[in-house]
């Protein structure tokens, strides 16, 4: 498959993921999709030939997803605590 076509498809996928994030209701779901976004970004970078950037993106994607999840967790806890009070 030609490289550019693959790039184009991946970009389209990323755009749709972005739209899904904007319109999604569930934050956790959004975070998981974001993980997918980050993965497609990594693929894209690899295709373009930027291996270093892709490598970094892979690690950063992981770390930021973990951060996001922890943050969601903490926010939810907070909310529940408040409700309990």
């Amino acid at each position: 498959m030609p490289i550019l076509l693959l790039e184009g498809l991946l970009l389209l996928a990323m755009i749709s993921i972005a739209i899904a994030i904007i319109f999604g209701k569930n934050l956790l779901a959004a975070t998981i999709i974001y993980c997918g976004f980050s993965f497609s970004a990594m693929l894209l970078y690899t295709i373009v030939g930027a291996a270093d950037v892709a490598f970094t993106e892979a690690i950063i994607g992981t770390i930021s997803t973990v951060y996001f999840i922890i943050a969601i967790k903490s926010i939810k806890n907070r909310g529940e605590h408040d409700e309990k009070k």
């Binding site: 184009g8 994030i21 959004a30």
Partner: protein, 128 residues
């Protein structure tokens, strides 16, 4: 069939990829402005930054170029993909990680103060 693919490919090479990247950029910015949820805003910020990084990387692409790791036997510049955008974007990517970290910290702080991370509710509580 190959004809269509060829044309499509030419379109993509000429302007299509740029268009898609810029659309991604616009969607990111739009999300940052329009989304009510602060967490989503941060995600959209990342999306925007990814699009810019990709945009830069496309400048460095070369038909038939290999990864910018010097091999023993090839020295001609045409053989390698342009490494400059890669170096720049590594920096940019790290910066975006830093920004995300700060954004998340802020988010949690806002949650502490206002008990919510929805823009509307905060504005309603006098968060102006």
């Amino acid at each position: 069939m190959t004809d269509i693919i060829d044309r499509l490919e030419f379109f993509l090479a000429d302007r299509g990829i740029y268009m898609l990247a810029l659309i991604l950029f616009a969607v990111g910015i739009y999300g940052m402005i329009a989304c009510g949820n602060y967490m989503k805003k941060i995600m959209c910020m990342n999306i925007m930054q990814v699009s810019i990084i990709f945009f830069f990387l496309t400048f460095g692409q070369k038909e038939g170029g290999t990864l910018p790791i010097a091999l023993e036997n090839i020295f001609s510049a045409e053989a390698y993909i342009n490494p400059v955008p890669h170096a720049l974007m590594l920096t940019a990517i790290v910066v975006s990680l830093g920004t995300t970290g700060v954004g998340l910290a802020l988010l949690m702080k806002i949650k502490d103060i206002y008990g919510t991370i929805e823009e509307e509710e905060i504005t309603g509580k006098g968060g102006k």
